[in-house]
């Protein structure tokens, strides 16, 4: 048993069937028999919550797969409108934030308070960078009238030459109007999926802010790491969603 594991496990508790009141740490709720049970139960609960999130995004992935199958040319042309470098950068940012979050959990488990705070702050900042890049991307889309339902314009697809930056790179052929109209479905999926993802990021960043404040007081480096661990699971899950969104939305077909 390594030192860090020994520190993390803490002193073994007498596993009595009945126990007096003063024998458990203040953060152990009364309906639990032991700290270990509480940590185990809350960890399992977080995994179950992530299952609900998988199924929630599942509906969007289903829609994506169906419409990509039906309107492949529209999806290809529309995905050329996304900047692959912003997308790659964002993927790198999120992977890095997952790394810093995992390091943060390690710091909590090994009771390194300043390390934990640093990792949480880095995760927080990387999250903000991600959202910043997303804002840049979204505003580009808004400018070009590629937001479904808000004066959506198919001009970039029926007449690719009208969009010089994209045309330079991909030399797309002009598309017949009915297929061009289906790019609106691609953009709906783009906004719905990345928007839902961004919403989860925002919630995560807000909780990170709260956690940074509590971490500075040593709340998570006294042996009670459950909150940080479970939040880590949530954060990694949001990363995984992006790991799939990136190739599905940005990398449909960049070879021309």
């Amino acid at each position: 048993m390594s030192d860090s594991t020994a520190i993390a496990n803490g002193a073994p508790e007498a596993h009595g069937i009945t126990h007096g009141h003063g024998e458990h740490p203040s953060y152990q709720r009364h309906h639990f028999e032991s700290v270990a049970q509480q940590a185990d139960a809350t960890n399992f609960a977080m995994w179950l919550f992530l299952l609900t999130e998988i199924m929630f995004f599942g509906g969007l992935f289903t829609a994506y797969l169906i419409y990509r199958n039906w309107y492949y040319p529209a999806f290809v042309a529309a995905s050329h409108q996304l900047n692959v470098w912003w997308g790659t950068a964002n993927t790198g940012v999120l992977i890095s934030s997952s790394f810093t979050m995992a390091m943060g959990v390690w710091c909590a488990e090994t009771r390194r308070k300043s390390g934990l705070v640093l990792c949480l702050v880095l995760t927080f900042l990387l999250g903000l960078v991600f959202l910043g890049i997303k804002t840049i991307e979204y505003s580009e889309k808004i400018e070009k009238h590629h937001v479904p339902g808000f004066h959506y314009s198919v001009q970039a697809f029926t007449n690719p030459a009208s969009d010089p930056d994209t045309y330079k790179e991909y030399k797309d052929q002009p598309m017949p109007l009915d297929m061009a109209r289906h790019t609106e479905i691609y953009f709906f999926l783009y906004f719905a999926m990345t928007g839902m993802h961004a919403l989860h990021m925002i919630i995560g960043i807000a909780i990170l802010g709260f956690m940074i404040l509590k971490a500075r007081t040593g709340a998570y480096t006294g042996g009670h790491v459950t909150f940080v661990e479970n939040f880590g699971l949530y954060w990694h899950f949001v990363d995984i969603i992006w790991i799939f969104l990136f190739p599905l939305l940005y990398l449909i077909s960049r070879h021309q």
Binding site: F32, T42, F44, G149
Partner: protein, 554 residues
Amino acid sequence: MSSTIVSLPDQSTARIPKTNFITKENGLLSWLLTGDHKRIAILYLISITFFFFIGGALAGLIRLELLTPQSDLMATDTYNKVFTMHGVVMIFLFLVPSVPATLGNFLIPIMLGAKDLALPKINLLSWYLYVVGGILVLYTMISGGVDTGWTFTTPLSTHYVNTNVMSTGLAVFIAGFSSIFTGLNFIVTIHKMRCPGMTWFRMPLFVWSHYAASILMVLGTPVLAIAIVLVALERTVGIGVFDPTKGGDPLLFQHLFWFYSHPAVYIMILPGMGVISEVISTFSRKRVFGYTAVAFSSVAIAVFGFFVWAHHMFIMGISNYAMLVFSLLTMLVAVPSAIKIFNWTFTLYKGSITFETPMLYAFGFMGLFTIGGLTGVFLGTSGTDIHLTETYFIVAHFHFVMVGGMLMAFLSGIHFWWPKITGRMYPEKISQLAAVVTFIGFNFTFFPQFILGTLGMPRRYAAYPPEFQVLNVFSTAGASILGVGYLLPILYLTWSLKYGEIAGNNPWQATGLEWQIQSPPLTENFTVTPIMDHEAYDYEWLENEKAKEVASVG
């Protein structure tokens, strides 16, 4: 041979225990901010009863309209709103939370030997989400209702109605999270908080059925949530996901909607089946036949339930191959349910059967659920479904399983555990009368609807050809009897709170940890963590315990 197993303490000296979860703390806030699973269960019981009567009133309006072939009681648009609201209220605000959120919340920790559910605050949040969902539905009703049918089929709901789809959608979205959190809580509790000795196969079958239902709640409900989000976006922004003119497919909504809504019917029925297992065992004085089969069949229903949803879409435009596959799989899912009916029947065989009210409801369940389930086979067969779908046959089928099945199971459970929850017995004679009245009323209401359906009367129509009137009048007459049957419990159960006999710990002589503690229970359920050293439904163990019991002092 006595005709009842009820064994009450001497009424002249018996008292409700002074310290119990109800008397522990006073004041409205102690209830509204409670973490105690038993108090939350009662909060739920009050709210779902309220919504049940709203749904019931809407049903009354439907049946009144259908007395005559013309649409003369209300405009057809209004009729559409009435049946939609009836469906929304009854399904999302009554049936889905009925047994899990009331009896499940109350009993699961006690049955497992735990002090509370794993996440008490999430439990309370779950109730508040339910209340918010309910308020939004009330708001929808006040501001003119919604008329798409509870199934929100696109493109009607996205493009062609100007009624309150958004507020109803939001209500269902929020109530869905209530359901998810309840299920999540149950799964964690069942896995992680069983007392020493409580192995999986010593748990009451009530717990197994809630475990299976909880898996469905956690995995299925989010898909409904995303379906609602997409409808909302389609209605407000016009994204085109379900709009054929923009290349979308309206059928995609139905895939997402029914992916939840089929498992939803199992979410509704499985907890009821758990109640029936407990009741049938107790009132036959016999362990449930084939415990393992019943336990596994609950989980099998949950798993298979995910594979059959497109049988709601046979006529909607899915491919023939999908029709074939889903029809086949639907046949499979009927098997575990049938296994349960067989097991309950074999439990009754050579048992010492008595006919207290919970048992009457249980018998009603077995008969009516079987009929409802068998008619489901006609609907699962795609050939016959083409003729029977969207007719009154479907309406009769789901009312048999949901009302004849689930609602009877709910009432059975309420009566069975009423003494444990309140410490008092309900009045037996009038409750037996109510059970019989309900059974008679139910059959008069819904059996004619099978005939109407096969004759071709479509569902969701306010006006119908005059040759269907006789059966409709029959059905409405039955509905009035049914209404009386449902009203009576409200009256006598409320009465019993003050005047019912004191029940004592175990009026039914039942096994199960909940019957070994006081009625009503203490807030922490147990003073000492129990150690489970016997199998479930072990009546011999119960005899030994009784022999050791001190009946009087001195």
